[in-house]
C-alpha cells in the first residue's frame, strides 16, 4: 500500500513539473557516446504476458539519454539533465522538467555511472559498492537506500544492474509483483553522434521483441 501511495505522491506532487524550453535540450557534444540496443520485458499484475518492447538507445557524453523504442511501435524519448521530451511519429507529446522526475533522472544517472564505471559516485550517492567477478560487476539498490536518497516518492522498490565492459541487464522492481527487465546488446562507444547500427548491414536494426 505504501508503494501505491508513493506512486500517487510521485505522480501528483513530483510531476509539478515546470515546462522546459527547447534551449535546455541543447545538442550533444561530439565526445564518446554509447550506442546500443535494448529489449525490455515489463511484468505487470493483472497481465498474463509481459509487455515487451525493443529499440535503440544512446547515452551521450553530453549527459543526454535517447531511448528510441521501435517495436511494437515507435516512441522517441530524450532525457537530459534538465528535461524529458517524448515524440511519437515525430510529434512531440510531452515535455517536462527532469528534476521533477527523479525516477527518470535516476535511470539516466545509473546508466551513465555504470557505463563509465564510476563506482565512487555510486558509493557517494547510495552508499553501496558493486560486486566484482572478473570483468563483470553487479549491484543492487534496495528500498531503504532509495528512500534515503529520494524520499518515498519514487515508484520503485528495488534496482539491480549487472554488466562487464558495458551494462548487460537492468531490473526495476515496482512492488505488487510489477517489475521490468531490460537487457542491453550490441553496445558500441563512439565519438560521433551517428548511430552505427542504423548503417551497419551485419547487425539487425532492432532486436525482435519477445512475443
Amino acid at each position: 500500500m505504501v508503494r501505491r501511495l508513493a506512486q500517487f505522491c510521485m505522480v501528483f506532487f513530483s510531476l509539478f513539473g515546470g515546462v522546459v524550453t527547447a534551449a535546455d535540450l541543447s545538442p550533444a557534444s561530439v565526445e564518446q557516446n554509447l550506442f546500443g540496443q535494448f529489449k525490455q520485458l515489463r511484468y505487470l499484475t493483472g497481465f498474463d504476458q509481459p509487455i515487451s518492447s525493443s529499440g535503440r538507445f544512446r547515452v551521450g557524453a553530453d549527459q543526454n539519454l535517447i531511448w528510441h523504442t521501435l517495436l511494437p511501435f515507435e516512441n522517441h524519448l530524450q532525457i537530459s539533465s534538465s528535461g524529458i521530451t517524448q515524440r511519437i511519429a515525430g510529434e512531440q507529446v510531452m515535455q517536462l522538467a527532469a528534476s521533477k522526475l527523479p525516477a527518470v533522472k535516476l535511470f539516466g544517472d545509473l546508466l551513465r555511472i555504470s557505463l563509465a564505471q564510476e563506482w565512487q559516485q555510486l558509493e557517494q550517492q547510495f552508499g553501496i559498492q558493486p560486486r566484482f567477478d572478473g570483468q563483470n560487476w553487479a549491484f543492487e539498490i534496495d528500498s531503504e537506500q532509495l528512500t534515503s536518497r529520494f524520499g518515498s516518492g519514487l515508484p520503485l522498490e528495488k534496482i539491480a544492474m549487472q554488466g562487464g565492459q558495458f551494462v548487460d541487464k537492468l531490473i526495476l522492481q515496482r512492488g505488487q509483483g510489477d517489475y521490468d527487465i531490460i537487457t542491453f546488446e550490441y553496445q558500441t562507444q563512439l565519438p560521433g553522434l551517428s548511430d552505427p547500427l542504423t548503417a551497419s548491414p551485419d547487425r539487425p536494426a532492432v532486436v525482435d521483441p519477445q512475443p
Partner: protein
Amino acid sequence: MTRLLPLGWLSCLLLAALFVAVRLMSGFALEANMLALLPNDSGDAWVEEASAIVANKIGNRVVLVVGHTGFDRANQALQSLLFELERQELGVRQSQLSTQQIESFHSRLLASSSGLLSRSDRQLMQTERSKELVQRARAQLFSPILMVGGGTVSDDPLFLFSRFLADKATISAQKMQFREGLLTREHDGKHFVLATLLLTGEPFDQNFQQRFSQLFSDTRQQLIQADSGLQVLATGALFYASDAVEQGRRDSLLIGSVSLLAVIGLLVGLFGSLRPLLLSLLSISGGLIGGLAVILLLFEKIHLIALVFGAGIIGISVDYAIHYFSEGLGADPVTPAQKLNRVLPALTLGMISSVIGFATLAQAPFPGLRQIAVFSAVGLVCAYMTVVTGFTWLDKKTAYPHSNRLLALAKQFDRLVHRWVGDHAAIVLLVILVGGGVTLARTLVADDDLRQQQTVSAELKEQEHAIRSLSGVDNATQFFLVSGSSSEAVLRAEEQLTSRLDQLIDEGQITGYNSISTLVPSAQRQAENQALLRRHQASAEVGQYYRSLGLSTVARAGPENMPLRLNQLNDAGGDHLSGLLVSNEIGRVVHMVTLSGVVQLKPLEQAAIGLNSVQLVDQTSRWSQVLETYRQRAIALLMVAVGLIWLFLSWRYRPLRAAIIVAVPTAAVVLTPLVTSGLLGEPFTFFSAMGLMLVLMMGIDFALFYAEAPEPQRPVSLFANGLSAISTMLAFGLMSLSATYAVHAFGITILVGISLALLLSPLAARRA
C-alpha cells in the same frame, strides 16, 4: 479668575497626559497597513467580503524555506525553526499530509477516476481521436520508467488517471515536489524544503510582530551559526509590516528629534532666552498631548502615518508661540497681555481657518485621514489654548532685544516688497499666479500606482522573489473570485473561466493557475467525462489495445464510478484546496482561482467578460484606483476648504480683501505641484495632495498675520512667519528624506509649498 483659566486648562492637559500615558503603557495598537488608510466602500459587497477573507488568509501566513546540500539537514533545520515558533505559540504549521490522509485522498480520487480527465484526453475524446488516445497510452506503457506504481496499470491501462493528475500539476505551475510530507525542490545542488506557518496572532499587531520577528531571527541565526551551509528564507505580510513599523519608528524618531533640536536652536538663538523655548515646548506638548489623547479615545488603532504626522505637528503648533514672542522683539518693553492682544486676532482666525480645513479633510471617508485630521485639528486647538491661557500667566518678560538684526532685515524686505508691489499689482499678480498655476497644474500627470508608494525592503523582496522562483507559484495580488448559489454552480462557472485561462497559458499570458474545478470538476463535467469514456472504451481502437494487452475488462476506469464531491475531498485530507475555498455558506459559495506568471492584466479582464459570476480582483490596481479617486477628491476638498475659509474671512474682512488673503496660500498651493512635479520630477500623488492641505493651512496663517499687522508691526510678522516657515521646513524637510514614500511625498510638498507661501505672504498686507 486670571489664574483659574490657565490652571483649569493645565489640569485638563495633565489629565490628558495621564490618559495618554496609561494607554501607551497598556500597549496601543499601531496600524502599519497602508491600506487601512483607505475606505472599504468600492465594488460589490461580496467581492469586498471575499477579498477581505483572501487578504486575511494570505496575511496570516508565513512561508519558510530552508535550503542545504543535504535534504536531511535542510529538513531538520526547518523542523527546528517550526518547532521553536510553535513552542512559543506564534504559529501552527499548515498540516502536512500524513500517510493516512494521502491514502484517503488518493482512494477518493481513484474511486471517481472515470469522471476525471486531463484537458488533452478530454479533447481527444471529444474529437473522436481514440487512436491518439491509445498511442499515448502505449507511449507511457513502453517508456523506460513507468511512472505509476505497482499493480495499477491493469486498473487504468489508458493511463487516464495519471495524466489527469499530471495535468493538474502542470496547470498549477508548481515547481516543488512532495517528499516526506513536505514540498521540496532540488535546485543548484541544494535541497530546499518549504513549509507554511499559520500565524496565531495578528500580522499587523506590533507586539506579535516583535515577538515573532525576534524569535525567528534568533533561531535563524543559531541555525546558520551551527551550519553555515544553511539558507533560510521567509516571506509573509508580517515581515513587511514589521519592516514598515521599524522604518516608521526610525523616521518618527529622527524627524521628531531633529525637528525638536532645530526648534530649540532657533528659539534660544533668536530670542536669547530660555523662556520662549520652554513656553513653546509647553504649547507643542499641549498640542501633542491633546491630539494624541483624542485619537486614542476615538480610535482603537493609531495609524503609522498619523504618528509620523504627529512628529510634524511640532513644526505647526510652535508657530503660535513664535508669533507671540516675536511681538516682544525689540528694545521697547511690551507686556505679555499686549503681546497676546496683538496676535490674538490673527491667531484665532488662523486656528479657526485651519480647523475648517481639517474638518473638510475629515469628511473624506478615509479612516487614517480622519485620524490625521482629528489629530491636527485638536492639536492646533490645544496649542492655541495653551498659548492663549498660559502664556500671559507664565511669561513675565517684557522685551527680547536680541534679534534686532534679523528684524531689520525683515523690515528691509517688507519695504522692498511694498515699494515694488502696489495694491493693484498684488491683485494682478495673484490672479496671474492662481489662474496660470491652475491652467498649468491641469497638464500635470498624476501617479497613483500603489507599488510606487510603498517602500519595500530590498532584502525582504529578494527573499520573496527567491521563494516564488523556487516554488514556481506567484503570490500574485491578481486572482479571480467565482461566486454562485451552490458549489455545483460555482464549479461550472469556474470551468467556463478555466477554459479561457487555458488559452491564456497557450498564449503565454500566464504560466498557470490553481482552481478547485481542475481537481474536482462539476458533477455535470464528470457526467460528460464518464459518457465520453464509455463511448471510447467501446471504440475499436481501445478494444484492440485492451485485447493486445490481454485485458478483457478494466475495473477502475469504468463509468460506474461514483462522482467526486468537494466535501468528500476536504474530509479526505484535501487541505490544500481549502485555500481556494473562500466561502461555503448556504446560498453563497465563493471560490478563488489563483494565477501564476501574469504578464498583462488586460487579457485577464477580457477572460472574465460575459461571465457574470466571475470577478477579477487585482488588489494593487484596485487600491491604486481608490488612491486616484481620493486624490481627486482631496483636491476637490481643498477647493471647498478655500471657499469655506474665504466665506469665514468675509465675515471679518470685505470679500475682496478676504479673497486676497485666501489667494496668497491658494497661489502657493497651485504652484507647488508645478515645482515638485514639473521641475523636481516628483510624481504627484494622493499624499502630495494631502501636503497641499497643510500648505493651505500654514499659508493662511502667514497671510493672516501679515494682513492683521499694522504697518509698523509688519516686519515683526514677516520675521515670525519666516521663523515659523523655517521650523516647519526643518520638520517636514526631514520628512522628505523618509524612506516611506507617502511621508517623503508629503515632506517635499510642504518644503516647497511653505517656501512659496512665505515668499507670497507680503502680498496679503493691508495697503494704504
